[in-house]
Each structure stands twice: as C-alpha cells, then as structure tokens.
C-alpha cells in the first residue's frame, strides 16, 4: 500500500498502544490544566472573591453547612430573607452544590488542611470544569474514537460558552451541573450500548446528583425519554434499551424524589410526564414483544389493536382526570416562556426582567462558540452517516439544545457540550482523512471498485472498523457513483467523472494537499484558542462586585463601592435592621452585609417584590406607610450617574414600575413615568410621577450640590439633572459610597409629637405653615 509519508515499521503494536495511551493521559491532564488555568483570570486580576448575585447565596448557604453541619442546614429556616415572611432554605434550594463543597471542606479539614471555605467555593467551578473535560472525552469516545474525544475535551475545556458560567468565583449550580449532565449522558449511552443495568444505575446515581444540584435536570429528564421514544419509533427497540431505560428511570426517579425541593414533582408535574410515559410505553412494547414471541401473528394483530386502543384511551383519561383534579401541576410560566418568547413579557414581567432570560442574540453565538458554530452542523451530519443509537442521541440533543439556546441566553450553556462533541467529531474526521498516510492505489478501471470501497470510508480507518460498514459503504459508493454518472452534482463528482468514466479510487494524493488542509485546521484551532482566551479574560472574568477601571498611568484602579457600603452596613448598623433594596441586591446584602432583606434573588413571591416596586415608584407620602409596615430601617439604591455605571437602579426602574403595576394597576401606571413624548427622562422634562418617586429622589438627593453650581450631568443617561435637587422628608441620607454608586437612606421614625414628618421638617426649617392649607393630620400614619 503506498503511503504519503514514511511510517516507522519496527514498532510493535504493544508499544504503539502503550505510547498512545500515555499520550492520551498526558493530553487529558494538560487539557484539565488548561481548563482550570483559563478560569483563573478573575482570581489573578482581582482576588479570590464570589462573583455576581446568586453565588453569594450559595456561598452563604455553604458557610452554614460547613459551620453547623448538614442537618442544621437541612432544617435551616432563614428569618432574615423575605422579611417578614422568612424562607425555608433547606426545602427551597438544590443542595448539591453546597453538599459538594461541604464534603470537600470536611475532607480537607479531616486531614488537617485548614482551607478557607471561600477558597473552596471559588475554585469549585474550575475544578469541576476539568472533570467536565474528562466526561466529554468519555462521551465523545463513545461517538467516534479517542482522538475525537480529546478534541472535544479540549473544546469544552476552553470554550467561552461554558467558561461564562464556570470562572473561578462563579459559584453557581451550573458549575457542577454541566459535568453531571455529560457524565449522566455518557453513562446512559454506555448502558444503552451494553444493555447494562450497572451503567443504568450509575446513570441514575449521577442523575440524582444532578437533580440535587440544578433545576436544569429537567433537560435530562426529557432528553433520555425522547431518545428512547425515537429509538422505539425507528423500530430500534431492543432488550438493551429496555434494561437501560428501566434501570435508569426507576432508580433515578425514586432517588430524585429524596430531594425535598423536588419532592413528588416527578410524578405530578407535566415536565416529568414524558419520562413516565416513555417508561410505560417501554413496558407495553416489551410486553408486546413477549406476547408476540408466544402467540401467532394473526392473534397478535388483534391483540395489539385492542390493547393499544384501550391503553391509549385509559392513559389519556387518567392524564386529563389528574390534571383536572389538580394532582398534576399546571404548566409553569417559565415553561411557557420556553415555547413562546413573548409570553413572559406579557404575563410575568419578573421573569422577563432577568437579563439571562432574554432571547439570544446572534453575535453571542459566535462570541461563545467561535468556529465551532460552523463545525457543529458538519458534525451532526457526520452522525447521520453511521446512525448508531448513540449518534441518534447526539442528533436529538443538537436539535433540542439549539432551539432552547435560541430562546434563552442562559440555555446556551446546555448547547455548548453538544456543539463541542459534534465539532470534535467533524474536525477529527477531517484530520483522520488528511493525516492518514494511505494513498489510493493508482488502479486500472477493472480494479477501481475494490479500491474505492476501502478508501472512501474515512471514518472507519480508526482502531476497530465494525464488520458491517464496508458492505454498506461500498453499496453507497456504488449508488453515489451511479448517481454521479447520471447527474454530475458536486464538483468532486464532475472532477471524478471527467478523469475516468467509472467509479474512481477516492483519497488524497501527495503531501501538499495534506499539509495545506492540516495547516489550515491548525490555524483555525490557534485562532480559536486566542479567541477563547480573549473572551474569557475580557468579558467573563469580572466579578461584578468589584469594578475595574484604569488610572491615567495605566495601572488598575478598583472601584469597590459595593463592598464599602455593604461593610458599612455590617459594621455600623444594628444587627436586626431591615434593608430594603431591589431584589437584585438581596443575596449580596445577606451575604456581605449580613442584614435582613425584604426581597432577594430567589424571586418566589411576586407580590412582595411588587410591594418593593411600589414603594420605590411612588411618592414619599405613599411609600412611608409601606416602609413602616415592613419595619424597614434602611433603603439601599444603586446610582451610577456620577461615574457612569450603567447597571444602576434608575435604568432598572421601569421593571419595578411594571412589576408593581402587575399587582396594583390602579396605583402605579407605567405611562406616567414617561414624558408626553414617550421618552424616559430624568432631566427637566421628567414626568411628575418620575420626579416624585422615591427612587428618583434617593438617586439624585444632593447630587446637584456636588457640582457646586455647575450644570449637573448624569453620566449614564447623558442628561442634565434639574438645577434644584429633590428634597427628602421621610428619609435621611445615612451613607453614600466613595463614587456614589451605593446610597443608603435611613427611614425616619414617626415624629415624637405626632405631626407628620413633612410638617415637622418644615417646622424645623423655620417655614411658616400656610393658613390656606388644611391643617395636617395630627396622627401618625401607621
């Protein structure tokens, strides 16, 4: 056989195998290292700190777990959240993440390694990303071979779509969930391939871990049944499928019901019905197979008809009945918003107000996946070539995840693994074809048939070609040749038909083509690496608690206003002082300032949030009774107008108004916050409702004085603030951070003489009471 370049001949197969496995291990280790290292930008550029908002709650819960033990954590009722309602934390969260950190923490402390719990939390996500790379390797190995697996591991290790959720400090459920997703899928594929109850059980165990760790477990709950269903519909039912699915579903579902937050959902809610239904269907199909093997085919036809019809009718009736009786929960809003992107905006503004629930923009696909976006379809198409059971899985996964990633930004995360797998399959096929030294033999027309059949299957020149492939491929090749002869469709066909009349030996001649293609691929990979590094370092590694800017001399200047204010609250206010803020900052206040909050990022009570929204958007006189009723001592607002921090509360204000309007449509109206021209303004043209709102007043209180007579400029909205700033009668400025980003106000107590605070203030300032006005009520407003 001619080769394009010389191969060493004096190597024993054992040596080759050993070397290959050593190289694989080393490569996997390096990939793990790269995966961890590329997530450490945040720690190196800033510090070992918990990022964003949700992670602060996870971190706080983990601290409780680490310091008080698991049972205390399980029964933890947090009276400081959702004041005055409180939150049963143990029953309303996915404990997998905290339990993982807790186990690591206790393990390290058992061997006397006093690692701070914060550092464990910060570094958990990078650590698990290394495991994800390994799991993806195993998964892809099942799809194609080890080399594709290594490529997939490398992709998932550094792809920004995954890094965005797993940089050091991003201590969120997704940090471990993607690993669990991939390992569960791998075990499922393995179980399906081998018909192994053991692997089915392992898949169920990891599924349980996933249920305990992330709400996105529903993705697995629906993906595996879907795969099974498709297999049945394609007539690929086998005992392997039956064993794998039954062991996974039975054990996995029972295990998942042990998580308190999930409880009986797996048998009640519609999201889980698919899994249950497929389980039932599998039993029926298996039973049918059993019956078929025992009775004649005519009887079987009859039996099938009656059986299927009666079971179908019974099942449907039971489903309707259960839904009607309310035992099966109705479809939730978040579920609807998956199908109808406009649904949330219309009916549940609180879901729509979260930026990560927005539909994905096209550029973010490229930003998160770069050239994998182009390789991904190729990889999926290559899966059609062999179309084994596991390839079907990848195809289904790709279709479903692509749809969801288009609907919600955060679901890009579930798409990323399959993109990596499919792209790795595509790229490794390409490399296999072009690195393979075999050259097609220059044959006469008579021998061309055999030549084509051996070479035209580039996917099969791996370690173990399956016995069926040569036959099928040669059949295909024949067909293709025949088709090409009739209608020259592609360029290669034309070229092939022009050189010889019959089917040609396919393959690559010479080194030049090989080198060109391989070089090109290497360039693409290199660009991919540099793109990933750039995106990770510049876009995804900012803790958002700490803002970075640069000094005139180029050195880094850190804007640390959030922590300044939170720490002030923690050190200088009474421990039971209730802090009101918009829900975004609830977890951070609880974590850093350690004070009770009205609402936080666990947005379970829409009315409570709407109450805060109403207080923020109405005038002082209206808001004051609300504040007093909720025992609010301090109000915290975020104001970026001085230094141009655009994520501030004035920019989020419309959402507060909308959410409040959803509950009190008579008292809060969104249109009244716009100018008559329909613009959202904070300058002289701002509407009266806007200028009287608590939020506006608190943001701009004494802001004008800072400019000492010059025209005050809001740097975020690029508008000039009115010359006369707002005054506050019911609130006192308690603290303002260095760059004015965080402003904290204290709610005044009722006047000790029983006047309302407005007139008390006016009296204190020496203003005469106007006779024309009706006398103020001499009673405190409660």
């Amino acid at each position: 056989m001619p080769t394009a370049y010389p191969l060493p001949t004096n190597l024993s197969p054992a040596t080759v195998a050993n070397t290959a496995s050593l190289i694989r291990i080393v490569a996997l280790a390096l990939i793990s290292g790269a995966a961890i290292a590329s997530r450490l930008f945040a720690v190196i550029n800033f510090e070992s700190i918990i990022h964003e908002f949700d992670p602060w709650f996870n971190y706080r819960a983990t601290r409780v777990l680490a310091s008080k033990g698991f049972y205390e954590f399980w029964n933890w009722f947090d009276p400081t959240a959702w004041y005055p309602l409180g939150r049963v934390v143990g029953g309303t969260l996915y404990p997998g993440l905290m339990a993982t950190s807790g186990v690591i923490y206790n393990l390290l402390h058992a061997i006397n390694l006093p690692v701070d719990i914060r550092n464990i939390c910060v570094l958990l996500a990078p650590g698990f990303s290394a495991l994800t790379a390994w799991a993806t390797y195993m998964f892809t190995k099942e799809m194609k071979d080890a080399s594709a697996g290594l490529l997939a591991a490398a992709f998932i290790g550094i792809v920004p779509g995954y890094i965005s959720r797993s940089v050091a400090g991003s201590y969120d459920n997704e940090a471990i969930a993607i690993f669990l997703l991939m390992i569960t899928f791998y075990c499922w594929i393995k179980a399906l391939k081998q018909g192994s109850a053991l692997f089915g059980t392992v898949a169920a165990v990891f599924y349980f871990y996933m249920v305990a760790a992330w709400g996105g477990y529903a993705f697995i709950t629906n993906m595996i049944p879907l795969h099974a269903l498709v297999l049945i519909l394609m007539g690929r039912f086998s005992s392997r499928l039956y064993v794998a699915y039954s062991s996974w579903y039975a054990i996995g579902t029972l295990a998942s019901m042990q998580v308190p937050f999930v409880g009986f959902q797996p048998v009640k809610t519609s999201e889980h019905m698919a899994a249950l239904g497929v389980f039932g269907l599998l039993q029926i199909v298996a039973f049918a197979q059993l019956v078929r093997s025992h009775v004649s085919s005519h009887q079987f036809q009859k039996l099938l008809a009656t059986g299927v019809i009666s079971i179908g009718i019974l099942g449907a009736m039971a489903f309707v009945l259960l839904t009607y009786k309310g035992w099966i929960a109705p479809w939730t809003g978040r579920f609807y918003s998956l199908w109808d992107t406009g649904y949330a905006k219309k009916y549940i503004p609180i879901i729509a107000s979260v930026s990560e629930h927005q539909p994905t923009a096209w550029p973010s696909f490229f930003m998160d996946l770069q050239f994998l976006v182009f390789l991904f379809p190729a990889g999926v198409i290559l899966c059609f070539r062999e179309l084994r059971d596991e390839h079907l899985f990848v195809i289904i996964y790709a279709v479903v995840a692509s749809y969801f990633a288009g609907v919600m930004v955060r679901l890009m995360l579930t798409l990323t693994p399959v993109v990596c797998v499919a792209s790795a399959v595509a790229l490794s096929t390409l490399l296999d074809t072009f690195v393979d030294p075999t050259e097609p033999e220059v044959v006469d027309d008579t021998r061309s048939e055999s030549g084509a059949s051996t070479i035209s299957a580039p996917g099969t020149n791996g370690a173990a070609p399956s016995p069926t492939t040569p036959a099928t491929t040669s059949k295909k090749a024949k067909k293709a040749a025949a088709a090409a002869a009739e209608h020259p469709t592609t360029l290669s066909d034309i070229l092939a038909s022009s050189s010889t009349k019959t089917a040609k030996p396919k393959g690559i001649y010479g080194l030049d083509t090989r080198i060109m293609v391989v070089l090109n691929t290497i360039c693409m990979l290199a660009f991919f690496v540099s793109h990933c590094t750039w995106v990770t370092s510049s876009a995804y590694s900012s803790p958002s608690v700490v803002l970075a800017s640069s000094n005139p001399d180029g050195s880094q200047h850190i804007i640390d206003d959030f922590r300044e204010a939170y720490y002030w609250l923690r050190q200088n206010t009474p421990e039971d002082a209730v802090v009101m803020s918009w829900w975004d900052y609830g977890y951070q206040i609880a974590g850093m300032a350690d004070r009770p909050t009205l609402v936080d990022n666990n947005t379970w009570n829409n009315t409570h949030i709407a109450t805060v929204g109403k207080a923020m958007s109405s005038s002082e006189e209206v808001a004051y009774p609300i504040l007093r009723k909720h025992d609010v001592s301090y109000i915290l607002v975020i104001f970026g107008g001085l230094i141009g921090y655009s994520g501030d509360d004035i920019n989020k204000f419309l959402w507060m108004v909308r959410i409040a309007q959803g509950v009190w449509p008579d008292e809060v109206q969104e249109p009244s916050f716009f100018t008559p021209q329909g613009e959202y303004k904070v300058d002289d043209n701002a509407s009266p409702a806007m200028r009287n709102s608590l939020m506006y007043k608190m943001s701009y209180y004494r802001f004008v004085d800072l400019f000492g007579g010059a025209q005050a400029m809001d740097r975020v909205r690029q508008q000039q603030v009115p010359k006369v700033g707002p005054t506050l009668d019911y609130l006192d400025e308690a603290f303002t951070s260095e760059n004015w980003i965080v402003r904290i106000y204290e709610v005044k107590k009722e006047d000790s003489l029983g006047r309302d605070l407005k007139s008390a203030n006016a009296f204190a300032q020496g203003k005469k009471r106007k006779r024309s006005k009706p006398t103020t009520r001499r009673r405190a407003i409660l």
């Binding site: 006397n112 050190q571 004085d705």
Partner: protein, 734 residues
C-alpha cells in the same frame, strides 16, 4: 551584588567540600533551591575555629579564594635568594616609620575665580555643616553659576581626604567653609545715560572648605528623629528604640506581708524631702503622657529606697510606668505595694542607684502613660463640628514626704483650650492665682509647703479634681480587640504574623448622618473633620512578603505598601515597611471597622539558633505600634513548630494571663504547641517582643514528610490491590 558574592565565598570556605550549599546558586539551579528550602535549621554563624579549619582544608585542596591568597600587610613572606619562602620568625619586629599624629581634617579650596564673594558666600553657607555627599548633592542641583565648580572642588576634596588623610568617607562633613576675596582686577568705566558713568569692578573670590569626620546623615537623622520622638506624645511616630520596663507583677502572695510592708514603709518615709515636684501632662487622644519630676533630698544618711504615691484613679488609668534618674537612660527597679482599698492611693518603691548621704539631692523622673483618661465632650459631634475632649486628674501629686514646692503643667495639643478648672481653697499653699493659662499650657501652682500627702486625711481635705477641656485634632482611636497569631515554620523558614483588629473611633459619636458630599468637600478643601479617620499609616518590619489586608468580605483594595529591604544580619533595622492602610470607608466617631492584616517575614530576621543548648530563640513582637491608639485587650498566640519541646518564654512585661495549648494545622499529625498571652491596655510603649525558646528534634522535623509519604504510598498500594480484585459475578468465558 558584591555582598552576595562575599557570602558565596564565605559559604564555600565554611562548608568546603563537606557541605556544599551555595546561597546564590539557588537562583540558577532549582535543585539547590530545593535543598536550601529544605534545610530545616537556621543557618548560624560558624565559629572562628571552624572558619580556620575549613580555610586550611581549602588550602590543602588548592582552591583557596583569591582574597585568601593575597598576602596580609604584616605577615609578608620574604623570599630568599633561591626564590624559596623563608618563614618570618616570630617576635621579629617589622620596623615602622615614626607615627605622625593622624590627621583629622582636610582643607581645600577653589582657585580664585571670577565671582562676587557675596554670591559665593551664599553657597558657602548652604554647604557648611552638611555631610559632604549631601553638600555635593546640593551643589549638583543648585541653580547658582558657581555651584558646579564648588561641586567639583568638593568631590576632589573628598577624594583627597580619603586618599591622603585616610579619613573615613561616610563620616566626612563640611565642617567649615568660608569665602575670601581675591585680587581685584582693574576697574572699568561703565557709560550710563545722560553723560553719567559708573565704575565696574571685577571681583575675584574663592571658597575654602575644611572636611572633618563628623556625624553621618544617618546619625543626624537618628538624632532628629529622637528629638522629635521626645516631643511627641501620641501622634504618628514609634518609640521602639527606647528600652522599656514595666512594673513587675503585684504578686498576690505578698498580700500576707502587706501590713509588715506598710509598717516598714512608714518607718522609711521620713528619710526624704521633696524639694520640688513638677508634673507635666501632655494631653492626647486615647493616650496621655504624664512626666513627673521629683527633686529629692535625703534627710537621713543611707537612704536608698524612695517611695512614690499615685492616686487610686490615676493608678487604674496608668498602663505603663517607668522611673529614671534624670538624664540617665537605665530605668530603676520599681516594687508595687499591694493594692489596699482602704487607702485612696497606691505606693511604689523605687530602688535608687546609689545610697544617698545626708542632704544630698537627686532628680527622679516618673513617666507614665494613661489610657482611657480622656472622654469626648460633647459626646456627639456632627460632621462639620470640632472634636473636644475632657481630661480629669487630681490637683496634687501625692507623696509620703514633705514637699517644698509643687507645680502641674497641662499641655494641650493646640492652644485652643476651651476651659479649665480653677481650684479653690488653696490659701494654705499659695497666694497667687491657683491656675493660669499661657498658650497651650495650663499651669497649676506653684503650691508651696505641702505636708505629707499620701494619707486619707490630706486627700479628703485638700485633694480636688481638675478638668481641662480642649480641642483635639486627630481622631481618637481604640483597638477594642487585637488577636495576633504568630506561626513559626522551620520548613518554610518563615514567621507568619496575622492580626485581627477591631478598630473603634472613640471620639464623639456622629450626630445626624454621614454625608458623602460633606466628606468630599472637606477633603477637597483639605480641612478634614478632626474625628474622621480616612487612613492609617503603620510601620511593619522590613523584608516582609505576602502582606495581606482583608476583612470579612474580602480583600481591601485601597491600601498601599512600601516594603523596605531586610536589614543585614546582626544589625538593627533602621527602616520600616510602610503600610498606608485605608479602611473601606472613613471611620467617623463611634464607627467600627474590623479587619485582618498579616504578613510573612523571613524567620532568620527574628530567630537564632543557640548551638550550645541546641535551642532556637525566636522574637515575636506583641503588637504593631499604631500611633496614638490604645489596645483595650490583646491576645497574642505563638504557634511553635510541630514537636517542639522544652518551651520557655520571656515576655517583656507580665501578661494578664497566659496558657499553652495545642494547635493543629497543615497536615499535622500531633499538633503544635501554642502559647497564648493576654494583655490589656497596650500602648505604643508596649510594642515590645516576647522571646520564646524551644528545641525541635530532627525526628520532629521529619515527621510530616514521613506521614504524608506513608499516606500517599498507602493510597497507591490500595489502588494497586484494588485493580487486581475482580468483582464480576459472571466470569465471561470469552
């Protein structure tokens, strides 16, 4: 670099072929670095014999260093006729030239050049008295025309002084410099307007300097610093260079003998008379410095124990106390009398350095630091208002002896004293005004002819409180709680010190609320509120690494650190690493701030190995001096290496409580001994060191690597066994 190379040479000599550690090679060779890091002991200085022995060995092997090969100045080897070395006989006197007196000064001057003596004289005055290098520096950057010439002359003069006169270069100062007029050239006419004319002279002059050995810049700075420190009560400077003694413990066992002691004491009381007592109170924030000078006269021969009395309240406030003879440095021994609640005062016995004969006199100085002696008044102040404090003390200095004349001076930090008490009913002691204020000082007295005052009768009849109300312009700081943990690691050659501090602003609490606008405009106009603390400057040891400053929610990014290099071996550190520590928010009156500050220091800077006893001695500072602050309670823990035995410690002053416990960390298998000391009311004077000595056997050093190694290998062994166990139920027949 030069020094480092010397070290290398020394190391080669010391260890020779036996023990081939190189200091600087570690920068090139990772193996050597590992070796160096893994040496568990502190490198101690080799004795003279060892050095000699290794030199001999090196000579034998023929690899002496070039420095050793150069012949010494005296033992010059004479060469014989045949080129053979003739050993110099012992006792042969090498004849020297008769000694000239060693020159002490070098005089040098410029040539006459064209300049006015007046212009030149300005430069002369500028450099006179300066160290020569500093003078050269001044001339280098001077804008005067003659400066470059003077600079060159100075450089030449310095060179000559060093070469010809063998004067010590670093000590050279420009002792004198003067200008003399040179010959004047012919005058010229200068035509002016309107037929007038002027006469131009063309002056010539020269500058002469005399270089002598004087005080170096360092010495001058040191003196300057000492002078300043002497002035400062509580502001931003440390007094660590003053040796400090603390009152020895009031032993509880002595209570049995208290009556005997009292009787004994009372019998001695008559042997002295106070000619004069002057008490100076230097007011501050949380720390007040009181200096009392007793001019005493012995009324009986052979007196050697003088007794000092302190009021009960004063005693409680006093956190540090020292008695010296005026003008001397060594503190005298002080014995406290047991506390007796029936008496309103406390007595201390001071052992005089010499026995005093009849009518001989001596001046004793009692220095005390009082903490929590002031309080803010009014108790609240808004952001714009001033900060005023009140200080209260007793009018009379008590003494068991008759006092001729007594005076109390209360010095406020600024002349802005709001009010002070004018005592009444003092006709027995003075006829003038009992109190007067001049500038920042309020003077009480002189009061003359005061009888023995350390008795309840006098206190009841005459003693009265005086209060001074004054403005204070620095924030009043308190450290409510200081927890220091010092961890000694021999493997890392590291002393890690970590402080947890709870900082509290004890000034007037903030009235109303904090307005950022107000704060920003105050700092913009450079008129910060006197009770707001925006930042704190701390002096940390030189040569520290990995300094960290964080609080409960993470790193505090607003601080700056300037690290001074480590001091050379056997020298006292003269420079400090300066940490400009900014809390997250300015600390206003009544606000709190907790934070953690820690650093790693090379163990060799604070530890020595005593070869004779085989013990390590480590010096651990009790606290980092925080200017003007008082530490209400401190807990200092010292974690010794694992397996340390024979632990002894020497605190500089007795602790309120101390204990030893076990601390387990970093893969320890048996834990480390931990010493804990508790203190109260520490001031800047208490920033001293605890000395701890202990032994660490080699087995203890090797314990950890052994345990970790065994653990690793057992994991591997388990894995090896585990791989070979087959758990399959159905053996596949394939």
């Amino acid at each position: 670099m030069h020094q480092r190379r010397c070290k290398v040479v020394c190391a080669m000599h010391i260890h020779g072929a036996v023990n081939n550690f190189l200091y600087s090679a570690s920068f090139l060779n990772p193996l050597n670095w590992v070796k160096e890091k893994l040496v568990p002991s502190i490198r101690e200085k080799p004795s003279q014999e060892e050095v000699e022995a290794s030199k001999k060995q090196a000579a034998k092997e023929g690899n002496r260093s070039v420095f050793e090969a150069t012949p010494g100045p005296l033992v010059r080897q004479a060469r014989g006729k045949w080129g053979l070395a003739i050993p110099v006989k012992k006792g042969v006197h090498v004849p020297n030239k008769p000694h000239k007196p060693r020159p002490t000064a070098h005089k040098y001057s410029t040539a006459n050049f064209k300049i006015s003596h007046r212009k030149l004289n300005m430069l002369g005055r500028q450099i006179a008295g300066k160290p020569v290098d500093y003078a050269i520096l001044q001339m280098q950057f001077s804008e005067k025309r003659a400066s470059s010439r003077i600079m060159n002359m100075l450089a030449t003069a310095k060179d000559h002084a060093v070469r010809y006169k063998r004067l010590s270069e670093p000590k050279l100062v420009v002792a004198e410099s003067w200008v003399s007029k040179g010959p004047r050239g012919p005058k010229r006419l200068e035509p002016r307007g309107r037929g007038h004319f002027g006469i131009r002279t063309h002056p010539n002059s020269k500058l002469t300097v005399v270089l002598k050995e004087g005080k170096t810049v360092e010495e001058q700075k040191k003196e300057e610093r000492a002078r300043k420190i002497r002035k400062i009560v509580s502001a931003a400077a440390t007094r660590e260079d003053v040796p400090i003694r603390n009152p020895s413990p009031t032993s509880l066992g002595a209570a049995v003998h208290s009556e005997q002691l009292w009787k004994l004491a009372e019998s001695k009381f008559q042997s002295f008379e106070n000619t004069a007592i002057v008490r100076t109170v230097e007011l501050g924030g949380s720390v007040v410095h009181v200096t009392t000078t007793y001019a005493i006269k012995a009324t009986q021969p052979g007196a050697k124990v003088y007794t000092i009395a302190l009021g009960l309240e004063e005693k409680q406030k006093t956190s540090w106390l020292e008695v010296k003879v005026k003008g001397q440095q060594t503190p005298l021994d002080v014995v406290h009398y047991p506390l007796d609640t029936s008496r309103n005062f406390q007595l201390l016995d001071v052992a005089l350095p010499d026995v005093l004969s009849l009518n001989s006199t001596l001046n004793l100085v009692l220095e005390t630091l009082q903490t929590h002696a002031t309080f803010p008044w009014p108790k609240q102040a808004s952001q714009k208002e001033d900060q005023a404090l009140k200080y209260q003390t007793d009018l009379f200095v008590l003494s068991p002896y008759h006092t001729g004349v007594q005076r109390t001076k209360v010095k406020a930090p600024t002349p802005r004293v709001i009010s002070y008490t004018t005592p009444e009913n003092l006709q027995d002691f003075t006829l003038d005004a009992p109190a007067s204020k001049q500038g920042a000082t309020v003077t009480y007295g002189p009061y003359s002819d005061i009888p023995t005052s350390s008795n309840n009768k006098f206190i009841k009849e005459h003693q009265q409180p005086i209060t001074v109300h004054y403005f204070h312009e620095q924030p009043v700081l308190e450290i409510s709680k200081l927890t220091r943990t010092a961890e000694i690691s021999h493997w890392g050659a590291n002393l890690n010190i970590q402080d947890n501090l709870v900082l509290h602003n004890a000034g007037p609490t903030l009235k109303g609320h904090f307005s950022r606008l107000e704060h920003q405009s105050q700092s913009y106009f450079k008129r910060p509120a006197p009770h707001a603390l925006p930042a704190l400057t701390l002096h940390l040891p030189p040569g520290i690494r990995n300094t960290y400053y964080y609080d409960l929610i993470g790193n505090v990014s607003t601080s700056r650190l300037r690290i001074a290099p480590a001091a050379p071996k056997n020298q006292r550190a003269s420079r400090y690493s300066v940490l400009e520590l900014r809390p997250r928010y300015p600390i206003l009156g009544g606000w709190n701030y907790t934070f953690t500050l820690g650093w790693d220091a090379p163990l060799s800077d604070s530890a020595v190995y005593d070869r004779s006893t085989g013990k390590y001695i480590v010096e651990v500072p009790i606290m980092t001096p925080i200017p003007g602050a008082v530490v209400n309670s401190a807990e200092v823990s010292i974690v010794l290496p694992e397996g340390a035995t024979g632990v002894e410690f020497a605190p500089p002053f007795p602790a309120v409580a101390n204990r030893i416990s076990t601390h387990t960390t970093y893969l320890d298998s048996m834990g480390r001994p931990m010493l804990t000391f508790e203190y109260e009311n520490l001031t800047i004077m208490h920033a001293q060191s605890i000395f701890v000595s202990y032994k660490v056997p080699l087995a203890a050093h090797l314990r950890k690597p052994f345990v970790v190694g065994v653990a690793f290998f057992s994991v591997f062994a388990l894995a090896i066994v585990g791989r070979r166990i087959n758990l399959t139920i159905h053996q596949k027949t394939l």
